[in-house]
Each structure stands twice: as structure tokens, then as C-alpha cells.
Symmetry: C2
Subunit: 553 residues, 2 copies
């Protein structure tokens, strides 16, 4: 069962107008008018008719139970697409070219296997659906060459299967949502520490299937680091990878299933490395003298082994835009003045979240880190700014809905690079986005942050805003997306650090893994999904992107 | 070019008689006589005749150069098997049932591809050969269903390709031996920190192909953790996996190639995570009050994030045998007395190797660790015992040759388990080994150590000694190996923590990865090696083990 409203992010009650300063910035720099255009009512949305033959429906009902096979418009629309910019544009357009013929919600891992077998027999494509938060077209209800398509919602596969506190391991069902994961673990004094932006509306299975990285990945590692074992239900059967701490028993099949994005099967369980919940946490912020210097500071921290659990450095442009959008004009004005008085005219804001087993451990770790920060010219701006970030950590996605209502193209994309190539990558992607959007007469604001540190490099996360090109919203998006993707490929960086491949990044996958690599992925798919029903058009063999001249959706 | 003597471990000059106390122990407890039976002279060794057709030889010479295709007896014997117990028994027996028809040593990664293509045309099996130190039958020159078999020695693919000090990355050719890796990196102030027991005679490509773990894996991680990217030459072409710090671009193909043990192709290059060489190191030892208590101490250390870089805890039996074998009777006697006076009648010896960027950092880390050790009843026995271990860290394998000369069955095997299942696994494997060998009238000494710590569990490394069953050495070995393997499988632990699968562990692989997992591995092999020439009989589809009733070798 989808937890999100059908047309946008999350649930109602978190929307609101932009703050005056943000509004002014959009107006002056991007030419955004005060017009508002919200989503149409659900009743007005045109959908393809459900194409499931009566026999197919009853076969699915026989496995999942009749209450768990639905084809009402809300269910279908809620499982038709994810939450990418092209998804939201199409949802708001009044017409959806694709939607699942039914939404099926099996109650057990065994029932998932049975549903998949039924779908093989019925020649129905299956889109595994956790929270539906994909921002890369990962859950779009494409049927490929099949006679129909169902969304397989994992909403009934929830909760803790097993916990081993001594070994720091917990096995959770794939459909468990983020807040429920932490509630279950919290009752044992544990935490997973995995908090992607989508935390409230995404699931364990979705995280594992897409190699997600949480906001605290610098401290806890990405989900790839946290998965010790998993169970996957595929058309060819079930596969379980071992849950031992270390092994040399040949190739690691777990890593073929992690990141498989529903194209090989459904992740029904994952055994995850968990830790004692921290006894102390502290968020705070610093101003840094520029992005180039700031990334060097982060390199020093992480290579010394003393980076904070959450570490998030905005570049000059993202800092400027975020301050404008923050509201509380007085506090922001004071902050700007404080930084300017210390020589930071174009500051880069750094948010840090420290954790420790207790206050003393946190303090010792933080002191080591702050010493490095000060040596690099960082100016402390205190815990309030950090706490404000932490309080609003999941709110950013709601602002996107308001921006769309205001006619703003708003999109994010991300990559990662070694420390040596980080700034080159940063400049190339930013330049490509600005050039693409300027060329269409819609100049862009392009901001960036680093939010996942590795010893060998870091992520880069871009947010860009421009005036929507009315009537050509998808073409405008596609041109910018393609320019950025090509720039990333040209510098040899990864096409995605944590959003996944889905439909939107598939054109660049061959460049990244090579022709033979793609053939290897196809052979794995043929083995687990011989008739190709699993999530067609994602990862491999995706149809043209929305906005391309030859795309239909 | 093999660096090792043809009949045993390493090079000459490190052999010698057992110390008197060790000799007495073997005599009293295992019934070992004073008889010595060394290896036969190379000239007396019977080998199958090289079966390469003249056309095949010239085709290989055309690619690799005529000096780099050899079929002299030394070359062939040196590349016929690895260094497992059954390998050594067969080398000493005077007859080898298998040997490569030629040893080919291509000079570049491109030439490796060309050699593989030639072997596809000629229907020759190819055994990739780094240092030949496999102790699980990983390099045995099996031809499978093919017309002949060559060993592809990576000895010319050596040295540093690239180093990126800022990002902590170094790319090394696959044939680079351990000491050369550290020498190359050392000139840049860096270290890989990967020191398996075979360090002196094993290669980067071999480490990656077998998922090796070094003696310092608790600090540096296993080779799986250190590989950021690699190039593999396969019959179907070359595959290179990305070397970025983090990615969500689908399944991780790197992890399908790491641990592939030469069955998919030849690892020609690896990009490895490297670190600044430590400014300070300190080895020391402690006596611990029992193995069960000792493993709890290690759990506490690693879960608090303060375990030493090298951490190695012997159980009571291994401690007893190692002290008897250590020589220097006076020092050992004093050590025993010192521990007994502190209540440790049956001590477990713990060797720790601390590292730090400088002496102060080491001291701070060590103080945290020692506090935990003392709280768990550990008794410091000082730096001398630790330093002696470090000095002799690569010498243990030579003792094995002397034991074989004395008619001792000596074998090691390893696994890993979660902290919760560690002691259950320890007891089950030890009991299986003792029962198997007792049943044949050759009671065993079975010792064990933990040497690789994870937050979720640890490795277990068993060494067992018994009187050889003359004329049935391989049957005796097989029975013990099978009993241990079955015990490991029954408790759900991994069949190998770091030795790899090779031929010897292949019977247990399906139990570990499942039928569908095995099918996935086979599909990867079909893709990269369509005619199945790469290292036949290893990992998948191995022939019966030496010593089995229906085995031929």
C-alpha cells in the first residue's frame, strides 16, 4: 500500500509557500512568475484501461488473496511511476501513458514466489514496489514485451525476522519502511543508521535493490556495506546469500543481487549489520572558505579517520540558495553578517552530525575533528543551524512540489569521484547543466554538495533550478539530464552514486561497465528471470527517456 | 617463473630439525618416529609426457615469444600443483598424474588476451598461475575435457601502473609479488597492509582471485575490501570494473570477478586502496584465561572499534603446541611459569600488532585496547614474544615441510562465523577432526586460532597434526577434510574464510550458495569463458578429491 499522495512527495501537511527571499531570488534570477498550477484532481487523470484478463486476475487472487489484488485508480496511479521530475511532470499533466494493470500485495516470501510463477505463466511483467520513491524511473510500470504489468507491492512483508544483538545483526523483511526499521531496532537498543532522504517512505528492500546511501553514510557506510545477507525471490526460484562475517567461497553473489533494482527478483529479506544506538548526538554547522578548500578539509578529516557521521558540505551556490530558501530572514541575515565579518563573503556551509557511545566519546571525537576544521579556516556557526538541518532533513522533497506548482524545473543528480578528480568532475557537470539550460533560454541555478565521504573520494550531489519551458518540460529536462550524464561519463565518474540506474541512467550503464559487463548482467538476468518479466525497461534495455524525440511516454 | 622450490614451500635455507620439546611431543602424543623421508630428486619424478602438438606450441610462441613457452621438467613440475597437503604428498610420492603441457608467460595484458584466444582455438585448458601457493588445489593442472593444459604464469605482469597518493589508490599488475608490492608502495610512503602467510610467494592477482585475507586484515580489511577496481582478461574479451569510491550503478560486477579463482579469466591489474605507511608499530603478546573468554575479549575490542591491526588468539591446544615447537626452552619455561603464577595454567596466547601514524597515536590506541584486555583478565607477557611472532610470521610453512619429512600429516583449514555461533563452530570442527583421525588409529592434535576480526564475527583457523597413515596418506587426509567440511556445513558456517574454494572445497560450494547460486556462477562462466577452458575442475565441477575412492590423482 503506497504511503504517499498520488501526485507528489510524501503526505499532506508539509507544503507551504516559499519564503519571501527565495521567491525574490527565483523571480530575479530565473524569471519565475507568481502563477501557481497545482496537480489536477485524481478523477481528471487519464489512465490506460486495466488490461488484465479475468483469468489472470483470479490466478493472482488465488495466490495473494482477493483483497490484495487491486485496480482502482488510486492504487494504479500510486504505483504507476516513482518520484522523479519527469514522473511528477507527467502526473501533473493529466495523462499517464503507463500504469499497472493491477497492484498485487503478497503476504509472505513464499507468496511472492508464487505470484512470480503465476506472472511467468500469464506473461505479465512485474514491477517490485517498495515505497515508490525512485527518482530515476526505477518503478515505472512498463510492460515491455509482455501482455500486461503488475506492481508487486511489498507492503505486507514487514518487520523483524530475527535479531542477534551479540553479533550486531538483524534480519528484516524487505517491505519494512524506514521509521519502522528504526522503531523495531530501537526496542533492542540498536540502530541501522541508514537515513536516505526518502527514509520515511522507502523500504529495506528498496534500499538494497538500489544501493542507497544514507545521509549518515560517512559514519555508517552505505547500504551495500550494511547488508550481510539477503533472500531474493526470482521467477527461477529463491536465492539466499550467506550471512557470515567473511568468506572466500568464490564470487560474492550478494553483490550481484544488491543493486539489481527489481530486474532479477524481489528482495524479501535482508540481514543487516546494526549497532548500538548512539548515546549522544550533536549537530552543528561551520562556514568554510570555498568549495575547493572545503573538499580538502573533508579529505583531511576522512583520511585521518575522524570525519563526522553526517558530513555535508554545500558549495557557494547551494549555500546562497539554501539560505535564501530557509525563511527566518533575521537569523539568516545575522549568520551572513557573522561569516562576512570573518572574511567569508561567499561561504560554503558545512553541516556535521557527531555521534558517540556517550557524551565523553562524542566530545573526544569532535575535538579531533574541530582541530582539523579550524586549521583549514572553518568558522563555527553553532549548533542551531545544524539542528535546523537535522529537523528538516526529510523536508526538502516537499519544497520540490511547491516549486513545480510555481513552474520551476527542479532536479537533482549525483555522482562520485576520487579526491584527485573531484573538482574536475564538479566543474564539468555544473558547466554542462548551465550550458544546456542557458541554451534553451532558461538559465539555471546549479548548486552542489558533498555528503558521502570515502577514504578514496566523495560524492557530488547537484540540485538545479530553472524556469520550466512550458509545453516542452520533458524535452528541457532530457537535454539537461543528457548533458550532465555525458559530462559525467566523459570524466570517467560514475553515472550514479546512490539514486540507482532505473530508466533514466540506463543509457550510460554500458559506458560504465563495458559491453562484456552488460552481457554478464544479461546472463544473470536470463538465469533468474528467463522470460524477462522482472521490471522490464530498467537497468538494461530501457526505452528512450521521457523528453527524447522518439520516446512515447 | 615460479619462485618456489619444486617440492615444498618457498626457497631453501629455512629448514631445520624440530626443537627437542616439539620432537618429544610428536613422539609421545602422536607416535611419530625419528625416521626421515625427504622428497625424491627431480630427475626421479615421473610426469605425463607433454602433449602439446607442435602447431599449438608455435601458436603460443607466436604470441608470448619463444623464450616464454617452456616444457622442461622443472617448469612443468613447478606449475603442476599448489602447496596443499595432498599436493605435497603427491610431489613427494615420485609420480605426478597431472602436469601442464607447457608453461606460458605472456608479457602484457594484451598478450594474455591473445594467449587465451589461441587456447580457445587450440582447445587447451588454461590454469592462471601467480605464485602457486594455493592450499586448496586451486592451481592443479587439470585439463578437464580439453586436449591439453597450459599454466599461464603471470610472472612478467609486474609493477606499479599508477599511484594516486591523494586518493590513496595504486594500480598494480596482477603478477606483482608481495614484497615487490610493498617495495613499490614504500617508495611513495604507502602500504597496502596485505600480508597473507604466503606473502613472499604470492601475487596481487592471486590475492584478488582467491579473496585472501592478510594477517593484518583486522586493521586493513581483507583483499576484498582493498580492491576498488580490476581488469580481467577472459576468453570472451577484457572486462574492467570501475575504480570509483562509491556507486549505485547496478550490481557490482567486481565482486563476481574477485574470488573467481582463474575460472573466469586472468586478473591482469588491480586498483587497490593504499594508506600511508605507519609511523609506529608495536607487537606484543598477552596470556588469556581460555579460548571462550578470549573470543569475548576480541568481540569487545572490535565492537568498540579498538582492535589491534594484527590480532591473533590461539586456543589452549595451539598455544601448548606452539610453545613446544618454539625452541628456546628456557624462555618458554619462564613464560609458562610467569603465566601459571598468575593463574593461567592453560593459557591462550594472544599476539597483537599495533600501528599508528606516530608513537603518540599508537600509544593512545593501545591504551584503550589494553584497558579492555586487563578488564578481561589478560596478562601481558611483553613485546619480545610479539616480536618473535612478527619475525617468524612467514616461517610456519617451512615447518610443514619438515613435518612431512617426519611422516606427520599436517593440514590447516579455516572458516568464519558470527560471534553468536563462533564457539559452536569451533567445537564442531575440532570434534569432527579428532573423531575422524582417531577412528583411523591416528589420533590428532587439533589447535585453532582466531586471526581476523569483524564487527559481526571472526575467523577460525585450525591446524591439525597426526601420524601419517603410510600408503593411505591421501585417504586419511580426505576423511579428515570431509569430516571437517561436513561439520562446517552442518553449523551453517562458510566452507572457507580465506583459502578459497579451489578443488578441495568445491564439494561444499553448492551447500553454501544454493543450487540457483551455482547456476548463476555457471552462467557467468559461460559468458566469459564459453568453451570452459579457464581453470577447469576448480570452484565448479571439480573432480573427486585426492584420496576419495573414485579419484584418480
Amino acid at each position: 500500500m503506497s504511503r504517499q499522495r498520488w501526485w507528489g512527495w510524501g503526505v499532506d501537511g508539509h507544503d507551504g509557500p516559499l519564503p519571501a527571499e527565495g521567491d525574490a531570488l527565483l523571480s530575479h534570477e530565473l524569471g519565475i512568475s507568481s502563477d501557481r498550477r497545482g496537480p489536477p484532481p485524481l478523477e481528471a487523470l487519464r489512465l490506460p484501461r486495466p488490461a488484465l484478463a479475468p483469468g489472470a486476475r483470479s490466478a493472482l487472487e488465488a495466490v495473494a488473496g482477493s483483497a490484495w489484488v487491486r485496480d482502482d485508480p488510486f492504487s494504479r496511479v500510486s504505483h504507476a511511476v516513482g518520484r522523479s521530475y519527469p514522473d511528477l511532470v507527467r502526473l501533473r499533466s493529466g495523462t499517464l501513458a503507463t500504469a499497472p494493470d493491477a497492484v498485487v500485495e503478497p503476504g509472505t516470501a513464499q507468496d511472492v514466489l508464487e505470484v512470480l510463477r503465476a506472472c511467468v505463466r500469464l506473461d505479465l511483467a512485474v514491477v517490485p514496489f517498495g515505497g515508490g520513491t525512485s527518482v530515476v524511473g526505477g518503478v515505472e510500470a512498463l510492460r515491455g514485451e509482455h501482455t500486461g504489468v503488475i506492481a508487486l507491492d511489498t507492503g505486507r512483508l514487514t518487520g523483524l525476522v530475527d535479531v542477534d544483538v551479540r553479533s550486531g545483526l538483524a534480519t528484516l523483511r524487505g517491505g519494512t519502511f524506514g521509521p519502522d526499521v528504526e522503531a523495531e531496532l530501537g526496542s533492542h537498543g540498536l540502530t541501522l543508521g541508514h537515513q536516505p532522504q526518502s527514509f520515511e517512505f522507502s523500504t529495506v528492500g528498496g534500499w538494497v535493490a538500489t544501493r542507497s546511501a544514507g545521509q549518515a553514510s560517512t559514519g555508517y557506510g552505505r547500504i551495500d556495506d550494511l547488508v550481510q545477507g539477503l533472500r531474493l525471490a526470482a521467477p527461477a526460484g529463491e536465492i539466499a546469500t550467506g550471512a557470515g562475517p567473511g568468506t572466500a567461497a568464490g564470487p560474492d553473489l550478494r553483490e550481484l543481487l544488491v543493486g539489481s533494482e527489481g530486474t532479477l527478483g524481489v528482495i524479501t529479506e535482508a540481514t543487516l549489520r546494526v549497532r548500538p544506538a548512539p548515546g549522544a548526538t550533536r549537530f552543528e554547522a561551520f562556514g568554510l572558505p570555498g568549495f575547493a578548500a572545503g573538499t580538502e578539509t573533508l579529505r583531511a578529516l576522512t583520511q585521518a579517520g575522524i570525519a563526522a557521521t553526517v558530513t555535508r558540505l554545500s558549495d557557494e551556490e547551494e549555500t546562497r540558495v539554501n539560505l535564501a530558501m530557509a525563511g527566518s530572514a533575521r537569523a539568516v541575515g545575522a549568520l551572513r553578517g557573522y561569516l562576512r565579518a570573518r572574511g567569508l563573503d561567499r561561504p560554503c556551509l558545512l553541516v556535521l552530525g557527531w555521534e558517540g557511545t556517550d557524551a565523553a566519546a562524542l566530545r573526544a571525537h569532535r575535538e579531533d575533528g574541530v582541530r582539523v576544521l579550524r586549521a583549514h579556516g572553518a568558522v563555527a556557526v553553532g549548533a542551531k543551524v545544524g539542528a535546523a538541518w537535522a529537523r528538516n532533513r526529510y523536508r526538502g522533497a516537499y519544497v520540490r512540489d511547491e516549486l513545480l506548482t510555481r513552474g520551476v524545473l527542479v532536479e537533482t543528480l549525483e555522482t562520485a569521484a576520487t579526491w584527485t578528480r573531484l573538482l574536475e568532475t564538479y566543474r564539468a557537470v555544473g558547466a554542462a547543466l548551465r550550458a544546456s539550460l542557458s541554451a534553451r533560454g532558461t538559465p539555471a541555478l546549479v548548486g552542489c554538495h558533498v555528503s558521502h565521504l570515502y577514504v578514496t573520494g566523495a560524492s557530488l550531489y547537484f540540485t538545479f533550478l530553472a524556469r520550466q519551458e512550458a509545453g516542452a518540460e520533458l524535452e528541457q529536462w532530457h537535454a539537461a539530464k543528457a548533458a550532465a550524464g555525458d559530462a559525467i561519463a566523459a570524466v570517467g565518474a560514475t553515472i550514479t552514486h546512490h539514486h540507482g540506474v532505473g530508466r533514466d541512467h540506463a543509457p550510460w550503464l554500458e559506458g560504465e561497465v563495458g559491453g562484456l559487463g552488460l552481457t554478464l548482467l544479461r546472463s544473470a538476468k536470463s538465469t533468474l528471470d528467463p522470460t524477462g518479466i522482472m521490471n522490464p525497461g530498467k537497468l538494461l534495455d530501457a526505452p528512450p527517456l521521457p523528453g527524447m524525440p522518439d520516446s512515447t511516454a
